[in-house]
Symmetry: C2
Subunit: 467 residues, 2 copies
C-alpha cells in the first residue's frame, strides 16, 4: 500500500471522522480553537499546528474506537499526555485528531513485593510518586516537567536520576498499546526479564506515538533508599568538573545524581533562588544508600573532586537542605529565563560519550560566545547529556536563526563525537534532519518498520522520519 504524504490534508476524511467522533463523544470531543491550539505544540520555537479536533478518552477501548474511525477515514492521530514535549511532537502538520489521554490517570495496581506498578498513560510522574509515598517505593525518572508517563515512555525520557536508575527504556516492563489498525496489543508479561520474541516494549518506547497509542504501562519501581545525602561542589572550569565526573563514575560510586551547571546558570540560580553559591561551574550531587554507605560515597567523591580542584564540597543528609538544593536545580529553567525576561528558552539536548563531554561543552560555549547568545548550560553529566537554554526573543527572526545555528552546530559536534543530537527529548519535527545525519542507513530500517506497522501513516505523521 502506498504511503500517504504526511503533509497533505485529507479534508473529506477529516470532516467525516470529526462528525462521527462528535456524535460518539459529545462533550468529550472539541473543535474549539483554544482547545486545539493547546493540544498543538506550545512550549518551543516550533510553530503551532493544531489538530482539527480533540477527543478526551477514558479507556483503552475508547482509544481503539477512535483509532478505528481515524483508520477507516485515513485521518492522522496525535496522542496527547500533558503537552510538555519539546520538539513539535504534538503538532498536526496534516491535521487530524488529538487523543487526549490525561483523564486516563488511574493507578491500576502497585505490587510492592515485585517492585512494579501498572498505570494508565495520563498519570504524571509526580502523581505516581505521591501515590507511592507510603509504600517505601518510588519511580525515579524525572524529566523537568511533570510529564505524563505515557508521554515519557513515548519520548524515551530520562532526567537527573538516569545515571543510577536508567531511562524510560529501562523502567518499562510492558505496555498495552492500540495499534494503527485498532488492535489492542500487550507487548510483554510482568516478569522482570524475558527473551520472548521481539522487544515490542522497547520498540514503542521512544516511538513518539508514531507506531501506536500507549494506553497502559507496567513500570519498575525502586525502594526509597535508607539514606540520601546531597551536596554541591564548584570547579575552576568545566573541564575539571567533567573530569571529576569521569573519575567518579569510573570509581564505581553509584551516583544517584550528578548534574553540571555552568557559571552563567549558577549566576541565574543564585539570583532566582536567592542563594550564594560560587559563580563557577558546579556539580550538584546526590548519593543513595545506607547511612554508612552515603557517608562513604560522599567522602570518596570529595577526595576525587579535590584532585581536580573542586572546592567547598559539603554534603548533607538533612531533608530540608537537600530539598532547597534540588529545588534550585529544578528551577534552573525558570532561573535561566529570568536572565532575560520576555524570552523563551531554545533547548538543545546533545549526549556524548563521557570522555568527550568536556570538549563538547567547551566547543558549545565557544559557539555561544561567537553567536552572541545568552545561553546557560545544565547537564545530566553522568550520562554525557547536557542542555543549552538559548534565551531567544521569539519575535526576532535573526535571533531564532542564531539559535537554530547553535542547535545545528551542537548536533553536528555531538554526532561527530559518536554521540547523539538527542539524549532524552526525542526527534519530533525539530530534529529529523539531525537524525538523518546521525544514523543514515538505519533510517531505512526505521521506515520499513513504520510502513509495516502503520501503512497509512496515520500515527503522528511528520515525526521522527520523513517517509
Amino acid at each position: 500500500m502506498a504511503i500517504a504524504d504526511a503533509l497533505s490534508r485529507n479534508e473529506d476524511g477529516i470532516a467525516t471522522a470529526l462528525g462521527i467522533l462528535a456524535q460518539r463523544f459529545g462533550e468529550r470531543f472539541s473543535t474549539s480553537a483554544a482547545v486545539r491550539e493547546q493540544h498543538g505544540h506550545t512550549t518551543t520555537w516550533i510553530t503551532n499546528q493544531p489538530p482539527d479536533g480533540v477527543v478526551f478518552v477514558h479507556s483503552t477501548e475508547e482509544v481503539a474506537e477512535v483509532v478505528r474511525v481515524c483508520a477507516e477515514h485515513h485521518v492522522p492521530i496525535i496522542p496527547f499526555g500533558t503537552g510538555s514535549s519539546l520538539e513539535g511532537h504534538l503538532n498536526a502538520p496534516a491535521g487530524g485528531v488529538s487523543i487526549d489521554l490525561s483523564a486516563m490517570n488511574r493507578i491500576l495496581a502497585v505490587h510492592p513485593e515485585d517492585l512494579d506498578c501498572v498505570v494508565e498513560p495520563g498519570v504524571t510522574r509526580k502523581k505516581l510518586n505521591e501515590h507511592l509515598r507510603d509504600t517505601g517505593l518510588f519511580f525515579p525518572i524525572d524529566p523537568g516537567a511533570d510529564a505524563s508517563l505515557g508521554g515519557m515512555a513515548s519520548t524515551r525520557a530520562s532526567g537527573t536520576n538516569a545515571v543510577r536508575y536508567g531511562t524510560m527504556k529501562d523502567n518499562v516492563l510492558n505496555l498495552t498499546a492500540v495499534m494503527p489498525d485498532g488492535a489492542i496489543v500487550r507487548t510483554a508479561q510482568r516478569a522482570k526479564k524475558t527473551s520472548a520474541g521481539y522487544d515490542l516494549t522497547r520498540l514503542l518506547v521512544g516511538a513518539e506515538g508514531t507506531l501506536g497509542v500507549i494506553t497502559e504501562l507496567t513500570l519498575r519501581l525502586q525502594g526509597i533508599p535508607e539514606a540520601i545525602s546531597a551536596g554541591v561542589c564548584s570547579f575552576p572550569d568545566v573541564e575539571s568538573a567533567c573530569n571529576t565526573v569521569i573519575a567518579t563514575i569510573q570509581s564505581g560510586i553509584p551516583m544517584a545524581r550528578i548534574e553540571l551547571l555552568d557559571t552563567l546558570q549558577m549566576r541565574a540560580c543564585n539570583a532566582y533562588s536567592k542563594l550564594d553559591y560560587p559563580e563557577a561551574p558546579t556539580l550538584f550531587l546526590e548519593f543513595h544508600g545506607t547511612t554508612a554507605g552515603v557517608k562513604e560515597q560522599a567522602e570518596l567523591f570529595g577526595e576525587i573532586a579535590e584532585e581536580f580542584g573542586g572546592g567547598n564540597f559539603s554534603w548533607t543528609t538533612h531533608q530540608e537542605d537537600r530539598a532547597k538544593l534540588w529545588q534550585a536545580r529544578h528551577d534552573a529553567y525558570w532561573a535561566a529565563i529570568s536572565l532575560r525576561p520576555g524570552t523563551k528558552a531554545f533547548a538543545t539536548d546533545a549526549c556524548v560519550p563521557l570522555s568527550r563531554l568536556a570538549d563538547c561543552v567547551r566547543g558549545t560555549m565557544d559557539d555561544i560566545a561567537e553567536l552572541g547568545l545568552i545561553a546557560p548550560i545544565v547537564g545530566h553529566v553522568g550520562d554525557g547529556n547536557f542542555h543549552v537554554s538559548a534565551l531567544i526573543d521569539m519575535n526576532d527572526p535573526a535571533e531564532l536563526e542564531k539559535a537554530q545555528q547553535l542547535s545545528a552546530r551542537i548536533s553536528a559536534r555531538a554526532i561527530g563525537m559518536d554521540g547523539t543530537c538527542t539524549g532524552e527529548h526525542g526527534i519530533g519535527q525539530g530534529k529529523r534532519a539531525y537524525l538523518e545525519q546521525e544514523l543514515g542507513p538505519a533510517l531505512d530500517v526505521m521506515r520499513a518498520v513504520k510502513r509495516a506497522i502503520d501503512p497509512q501513516n496515520i500515527m503522528n505523521p511528520g515525526k521522527i522520519i520523513r517517509l
Copy 2:
C-alpha cells in the same frame, strides 16, 4: 511480496548459492557433513537440521557479501557464534547457509573512561573479560556457556549477574548489523543514552538472527568492585528461600548475585564438587561494593535470612573461597547430569514476578514428582527466573514425552502468573507455541516487523514466529 514458506527448500537457489560461495570463499566454505552437523543444533532434545553449507567469515563486508548472494537466490541464512543456544536456534529447517562468525573475534576498542568497548560478534564473554582484566573493568553478563557476544545479544541472554547489572538488553549500546538485503546498518551512536528514533538496538537484541546478522557490538562495561563477598545460606524449604529473596530485593540491598539451588541440585553439587553443604534449598549470594559496603550488605542479608529460617549463613571475601563456591554453582549443570549418567538435560526457563516465584517453583516440583522425573532446579531468583534440568534418556520417547509435558506445564503456569516461558534462553524452534500462548495479538505486530525487514524470510527462518 509473498512470504516464502520457511519449511520448503529452494533446491535450485541453494545449489546456485553454494556454488558461488564455494568459489568465493574456497577453504573457508564447507559442505562436509561433520561441519554442517556441528553447525546445526546439538545441545538439546531438538532434532539436528544441518545447513547445506557453512561459510567462515572474517568481516562485516564478507557477511554482507554472503547475505547478498543468499538474498539473490532466496536462500536461508543462519548466523552461528559458538553453538551454545538451547532452543534449536541454529537449525536449518529449510536448509541454507550457516554464517560462522567465530573468527570475527577481535576486540576493536576498549574505552575505559566511557566504560564501554567495541567487539566483533565472535568474541566470547570469557575472552572479553580476560582482555579487560588489567583495566579494572568487566563485562557482567554470564550465561552458563562461554557464549559469543553476538549470540548472547541475539538471544537476549543474561545469567547470574542480571539481578544487579541487567541483561544483554541493558548492556548493548549499539550494534552493527547486515540486514536481509545486504545493507550495513549501525543502530545507534556510542552515547550512554539516546532518544534518536526507533530503538533498533533493542529490536535486534533478542531477534535470534531473524532480522539481520550482528557483526559488531558496543557493550557497556562495569568497574570491578573494590570488594566482593560471597556466601551460602540454606533454608528449610523453597518458600522460605524465595521469601528471603523478595525481602532482600525490597530492602534495597544491591545484590550482585542471588541464586537458588533446590535440595536435589545441592545433593548433586555436593557429590560432583566434593562439598558438604546441607542438602536443603540453598541460596548462593554475592555482594559487590566497597569493603565496608559488602560487610554491611552481607550483615543485612544475614538478618533477613534469619527471619525466614535461613541457617548457617557465612560469607567470605577471600578470592579462593569465592571461586570455589561459584565454581560449584557454575558446575551445577554437570553435577545434575552426574545424577544420572548417560542422560541429557532438558532445560526449562520460566520467569515470573517475584511474588509468584515460590508458588511457581512449588508447582513445578509437584509436576516433577507426578511425572516421575529426576529434575533438579537452579534459579536466578532475584529476577524470578529458574531452570529445571530434566535428566532424560534421549533414546526413550516416553521420557522425552514426559519432559515435553513438564515444559508445557511450566510454561503454562508461568504465563498464567503473568510471567514468561523464557527468561533468557529465547524462543527458537522449541518455544514458538508457548510464545503464542504468552503474547497472542502481539505476534501479529512481530510478524509485520519480520515481513517488513525480511520480506523473503531468509533470515533464520522457522524461529520465534510462524509466518
